[in-house]
Symmetry: C2
Subunit: 330 residues, 2 copies
Amino acid sequence: SAPPPLHPRVLRAFVCSLHLLGGGSAAPAPAPGRIRRERLGSGPASTALKRDRRDVASRHLLAPPRERTARPAGAARAVACPVSIPRRSLRPRQGEEVRIQGDEFWHMTRVLRLGINDRVELFDGAGGLVEGSIQKVDKGGSDVKLLEDARLIAPDGIQWHVYAAFGTLKGGRADWLVEKCTELGACSVTPLLTERCHTVAENRVDRLQRLVLAAVKQCQRIHGMLLNPPIQIADLQPVISQSKLAFVASAESPPLLSTLPKSCNEESGLLIVGPEGDFTEEEVNVLKASGAVPVGLGPCRLRVETATISLLSALMLWSDAHRQETLKCR
Amino acid sequence: SAPPPLHPRVLRAFVCSLHLLGGGSAAPAPAPGRIRRERLGSGPASTALKRDRRDVASRHLLAPPRERTARPAGAARAVACPVSIPRRSLRPRQGEEVRIQGDEFWHMTRVLRLGINDRVELFDGAGGLVEGSIQKVDKGGSDVKLLEDARLIAPDGIQWHVYAAFGTLKGGRADWLVEKCTELGACSVTPLLTERCHTVAENRVDRLQRLVLAAVKQCQRIHGMLLNPPIQIADLQPVISQSKLAFVASAESPPLLSTLPKSCNEESGLLIVGPEGDFTEEEVNVLKASGAVPVGLGPCRLRVETATISLLSALMLWSDAHRQETLKCR
């Protein structure tokens, strides 16, 4: 008989790619997880990242993990960490096996105490998603048998692209900004170069890229988040002109929620936030002339990362409400 | 002739209390700034706090600071840091002098390079606000002459009270939550004790209190933010029953922006967020029975602190939009 459906909030196991065939014992490709261990330093963000891996279990909405014994199918369990798997060319089909090793295997078996017959959802951060059932657990890894063909999920809802001038933020604040944008479902984040924030350190971009990957796995986003190279405001103009939903944070402007349209069929939108010290008047005029709508931040004075997350949250909640109403009307 | 009005976003100098008379050279009372230096450790949050003091100058919307010379009245300058001033009993009046020493004096003169005839706004985090002009700068401090009677500002807009189960969050996340709640204008933050988060460390509450004070000064809130002692859900019930705007974060619930009323004359509201692992079903039923409205978090899986800040941002932006429309209609 078919196993009961997974809990709607079941968590997922990240695999490098779902274009693969399982089985075999080929040497694993370098896992993003391993890079994370080797290169991240001991600063607050990376320590938080390491600690957070162990927090995943407690974040679940499911019951606390049980002991590591065989149990009947239908006991939905969860894993959310990267998997090193050799890449192949065909998308996996029902009945095939995927081998999970390394960091994710450790997390699955030691932290979450998953065992034989537990079900996991494998995702690869590029839209691939497939449900599987753990068949075997040995010292080096575990074999997961797929219960369905791997699916490619299309992005849903408005895709928000964030352009924020966070290149000169100190003390982990840029890390927070990128991590929270990932959690809140932004489609991409691009550092903005302005007169008052005209650089982004090179090693910072590398570090942020790894942070994005870790955050994607941690909040189990089906689709990854792009971290683009820095751009100038002048290069942003054509992007704004092509968009019908472009908002720029500006302290003395009308409130965001009054400015949002009542009905909207757009697929993507832009959010533009200035640096510490704000945009110059000239830059604001350039952005407005391209078509960006200035929106206020509310009554409080917000810092760059707070303004970004605050506006992104409101936009995300608005587009979700809008989508739910559209679904109801059908 | 009267000096021109201050820039609408001019920054402010924090003083311990505006119930004081200036002048004299009495030994300063212990400054919150000094306590901040002595007791805070070297963890990420406190290092960030120390670094942030130096960031304040770059956060301003005004031109970069100029050299320390006498300049004509009207050059609006800004200071935002605590001042140790002996407490007296009468609110200061126009023409009196307030002496600024210690951390804030250092910040004012060394970081922001303010000088004679520069104007500052003094605030005490308890509703007091007064504008003054720097008369004298010497080695130990500076004298600020008040240009008007000190005013007591009433709180404006909906007062949001946050109840979040953040007692067991690790790695600076609780600090981040409290700091961002302060920045976003929450009226109070109270740790919630639930089945899945049943403790709050004692030293954590002390530390968070100091963090709130530092954040109030940094984002220059006219009114402070209360950090209340932890409470149980059972004790929260009567509070919810008396409120007409109580929201509880719940993953599979209708979107927040669809649930907000079209018109609202409430003065305060509640936001309730569960712990890692979420509320138990029993707790959710108790909260709903008291009158809290469950609201969704959007399509993404959000962590405790992200969910809190995300919903608080949306509520704050909504009440600001609502207030602006009410002002327009008058």
